[in-house]
């Protein structure tokens, strides 16, 4: 197959970059994707990473990125939406583009994805995580877009442009609305519940208001691992791995905070290394 990368890494925090660096050292081809600022950059002070006493998370993160860059590792902007196994390789949907990879290393950090009431039951029945995937189905209908990430605004504008009647719901009244098309209705708030028997019929806001809609697009920064790959083993919100960082699906590894506690930098870096070395040894 043309253009098949050895390893596709999801997330460019400490675990993902450590995996990338170690894979490249062993001669593997790597593509690494990220669509958000990671948690380490927000840490005010880190004191427990050996060799770096009293350093800010941002400084450390900059060092990590610079290290990767000096090895010609390019962090690409993109949100991984689906991963589909095909026997000896994986097909990955990254922001609407398909990329093939022999192995996957998941390193997207803790997904604080808390599903709301009615969400799971109505997936594919009006609940969607991808405006560019399902938007066309709601031309001439009403759709709520829930702002939970920086791309929510663009996705709402896209829906508006194809003729969907968009209601934009956000807690962030200033930054979100400034880029929003004028034709989009803006409501400040958060969504508590999704209602509907066979299809989405309405949503209930935290202030108790009910809004009628045909669809709800929930645009979080990360897609829950369980929605990303069918059949991935997850326990108490964390992906189950063995000592080699292998998940229950052959060729898919998980590293860093998504594999469980302790949610610490040094653990993430180590797990990235273990996964990369294991991939390199086996293929």
């Amino acid at each position: 197959m043309n253009n098949i990368t050895d390893i596709l890494i999801v997330g460019a925090g400490p675990a993902g970059l450590s995996a990338a660096v170690n894979a490249v050292v062993r001669g593997k081809t790597v593509r690494i994707f990220s669509n958000k600022e990671n948690y380490l950059s927000k840490a005010e002070r880190v004191d427990n990473h050996l060799g770096f006493y009293n350093i800010s998370g941002k400084e450390l993160m900059n060092k990590f990125s610079a290290h990767a860059k000096s090895m010609d590792i390019k962090i690409e902007d993109g949100k991984v939406v689906n991963i589909l196994p095909f026997g000896d390789f994986f097909m990955v949907n990254v922001s609407g583009n398909i990329i093939n990879a022999k192995n996957i290393i998941l390193a997207m950090g803790v997904s604080n994805v808390k599903e709301i009431t009615g969400e799971k039951e109505l997936i594919g029945k009006g609940v969607s995580y991808c405006a560019t995937c399902d938007g066309m189905l709601y031309r001439g209908k009403t759709a709520v877009v829930w702002d939970k990430s920086k791309d929510a605004c663009n996705e709402a504008n896209y829906l508006d442009s194809i003729g969907v009647n968009v209601i934009f719901i956000s807690n962030n009244s200033t930054t979100s609305t400034s880029n929003l098309n004028k034709t989009i209705n803006f409501i400040e708030g958060s969504i508590k519940t999704i209602l509907g028997d066979n299809n989405v019929e309405s949503i209930i806001l935290d202030n108790g208001n009910k809004i009628k809609t045909d669809a709800i697009f929930i645009l979080r920064e990360a897609i829950a691992p369980s929605s990303l790959i069918e059949g991935l083993k997850i326990e108490n919100g964390f992906i189950t791995v063995n000592r080699n960082m292998e998940t229950n699906i052959k060729g898919i590894y998980a590293t860093g905070d998504i594999t469980g506690k302790p949610l610490q930098l040094s653990k993430a870096v180590s797990e990235g290394l273990i996964a990369a070395q294991h991939v390199a040894k086996n293929k």
Binding site: V81, N82, L84, F86, I123, G124, M136, G231
Partner: protein
């Protein structure tokens, strides 16, 4: 691409197919849908693997909006499995070949 796939042109053709064939797997898709592109090779493979038993049909929802409405397609890809003219299984979204095989083997056993 498998030459065994049936590309549905209109609802009459669709109705006649599901009433004539015992087992029909129907893939509702569209050209602009990336997840649909991902499962397309799986539909090809099913058409080849089960060619003696199952007919695999593709419904482009942009050209067959009446069918998409009739079957309440809210997200694509949606794959419906018809047995004796009735829907017996439904899969929404990107699923691996094994998930489809499990359904097909159960339903055709």
């Amino acid at each position: 691409m498998s030459d065994k796939l049936v590309y549905i042109k209109n609802s009459e053709e669709f109705d006649s197919l599901i009433s004539k064939e015992k087992f029909v797997l129907v893939d509702f898709w569209a050209t602009w849908c990336t997840p649909c592109t991902m499962i397309a090779p799986i539909m090809d493979e099913i058409a080849n693997l089960y060619s003696d038993k199952i007919t695999v049909a593709k419904v482009d929802i942009d050209n067959n909006q009446d069918l998409a409405i009739k079957y309440g397609i809210q997200s694509i890809p949606t794959v419906l499995f018809f047995k004796d003219n009735n829907i017996v299984a439904k899969e929404v979204g990107v699923k691996p070949l094994a998930s489809f095989k499990k359904i097909l083997d159960e339903q055709t056993a």
